[in-house]
Amino acid sequence: MFPIIIQGLLLSGLYALIAMGFMLIFSIGRTLNLAYGAYLMIGGYVYFWISQQLGFPQIVGFFGAIAVGILMGLMKHQFIVRPLKGHHVAVEISTLILAVVLQAGIVLVFGDSSKILLPIVPGVVRVAGATVTYSILTATIISWLIITILYLFVRRTHTGRAMQAVSMDQKGAAISGVDADRINLITWGLSGALGAIGGAFFASYTQLSPAMWVTPLIISVAIVIVGGIGSIVGTLIVAHIIGFLEVIVVSVLAPELRGVSTMLLIIVVLIARPQGLFGRAEN
């Protein structure tokens, strides 16, 4: 019982962080960034390259990953989203193509095989009967920290409130004097940063491979669909639902069925409540 709770909490925290970046773009930028998973992949590889291959301290690796993530987000916004003027079909397709191109690029540079990352913090600890690596504990704690900062940022700062306004009504926000373009830029950069960190953590949790961007993307998708777009708290809650569901299925049923519960949840929610558990009904 306790091990499940502990594992569930740890996994959910990570999933929440990963989903945040995706949710921001979908809700504020109103686009589906299918290359979001690529932020994770690249973030993970940059972290790996800087801290393992080049030998710098891990913190440098993290910041490197964040920097690359921000850069990617900004470039994507500049070169793909803006020219396509938000035609959502075109953006969906372009971001998917981009993701595959990036995956191929990674294969070119790093090779096809999966790599195991050295733990962020070595060692394990026993918490309430469960064996937990310091690595994932650190990852989860930092995730919560980042989410809290994000929440405060969105709620308390001027820019954050502007972001909320744009997510609710782009035209209305523009009339109120919000520079939607600047907000979109910030959002994309932020999304890239969150994705990159999430990637570094996710890679520590599982492993690093060029194809690793698909699963986190699906998880983020699941969280956004089930939770409904728009709220940090909603995303947090649903991340926990999905995280716990996965852990329970893996422990009680079979480890191979890991992703199945998530998919089934998506189907059920879509049929019963298309706007998600917490979402506003889209007109």
């Binding site: 299918l34 079909v89 981009l98 191109v101 079979a254 191979e256 992703g259 998919m263």
Partner: protein, 314 residues
């Protein structure tokens, strides 16, 4: 349906050219063309649903996979005759796809894309886990009955299948139904406001798409003689289908056929230099550039060249 002379002429030349190929090229090239034919079928099946309505499906490998696995399991595990297993496979693809994707069609376009992506992942995981005695699990199955022997016969079968399916799809899309589907992609609410049920339209497009995908998948597995989840429920496979359709020209039906052949030959041409995943890098990059320059694909580029040529003459 307005069939103009130039359309029929085009089809005639195209078909004749295809059938003459075995006289003109090597066995190796024929095998490449066989693959291109099947890819064309898959790309057309995608185009039927997603090309006009804007409901981008990332789940076509899922549909193709159902068709392939159904006929493979029926023929290999249960000794069902191919003449029966293939039609059943198509039926199962249509029903299975409907059951699974129908709820998603009722929702807006963006969500549809997400859900189909999720389903593809789901199938990939499920097929390895559920009844591996039937499906062959992670490794898949081999020694499946093949319908033809040799490259030439395989080629004729593939080409015939492709020509029939593609021509039928093309005719279908030239009817008012085709216009209605374009309209759905442009403004779905307006379609409803014009007295049409957009759900009915989408469903029909989906069934046509699933039908084509099912046939394609079934015949494909009987050409390959083997099947593996890694090959089918794969992002790269999805990607290949999508890019073929997009570069060719989404919504035009013939565009995806062109796109498929173009892509396959490009990949083959690159093979000596870039044997591995690097090829995806190059052609993905090309695809992105082409798509952003002219989202309507090669068909649109050709049409504008054609009309500029006509104008120059008059």
């Amino acid at each position: 349906m307005e069939l103009r002379q130039r359309h029929l002429a085009f089809w005639a030349i195209f078909i004749v050219g295809l059938y003459l190929m075995p006289e003109l090229v090597s066995k190796g090239t024929l095998r490449t063309m066989i693959f291109a034919c099947y890819l064309a079928i898959f790309a057309v099946s995608w185009d039927l649903l997603s090309g006009r309505t804007g409901y981008i499906s990332f789940g076509h490998p899922f549909l193709i996979g159902i068709g392939a696995y159904t006929t493979a399991i029926l023929t290999k595990r249960f000794d069902v005759a191919v003449e029966i297993s293939i039609p059943i496979a198509v039926l199962v693809t249509m029903i299975g796809g409907l059951v699974v994707l129908l709820p998603a069609l009722r929702i807006k376009g963006s969500y549809f894309a997400l859900v189909t992506l999720a389903f593809m992942e789901l199938m990939y995981q499920l097929v390895q886990v559920i009844r591996p005695d039937l499906t062959g699990g992670t490794r898949g199955m081999s020694g499946i009955e093949t319908l033809t022997r040799g490259a030439v016969n395989g080629y004729y079968l593939a080409v015939t299948l492709m020509v029939i399916l593609t021509f039928a799809a093309w005719l279908l899309m030239r009817t008012r139904l085709g216009t209605a589907l374009w309209a759905v992609g442009m403004n779905e609410e307006s379609v409803r406001g014009s007295g049409l049920s957009s759900t009915k339209l989408k469903m029909f497009a989906f069934l046509a798409s699933a039908f084509t995908a099912g046939i394609g998948g079934a015949f494909y597995v009987h050409y390959l003689g083997s099947i593996a989840p890694r090959a089918l429920f794969d992002i790269n496979f999805l990607f290949t289908i999508l890019v073929a359709a997009l570069i060719g020209g989404a919504g035009s039906i013939i565009g995806p056929v062109f796109g498929a052949f173009f892509l396959v030959f490009l990949l083959e041409w690159l093979r000596p230099w870039l044997p591995g995943a690097e090829r995806y890098f190059i052609y993905g990059g090309i695809a992105l550039l082409v798509y952003m320059y002219q989202p309507k694909g090669m068909v649109a580029i050709l049409e504008s060249l054609y009309s500029r040529f006509w104008r120059a003459r008059s």
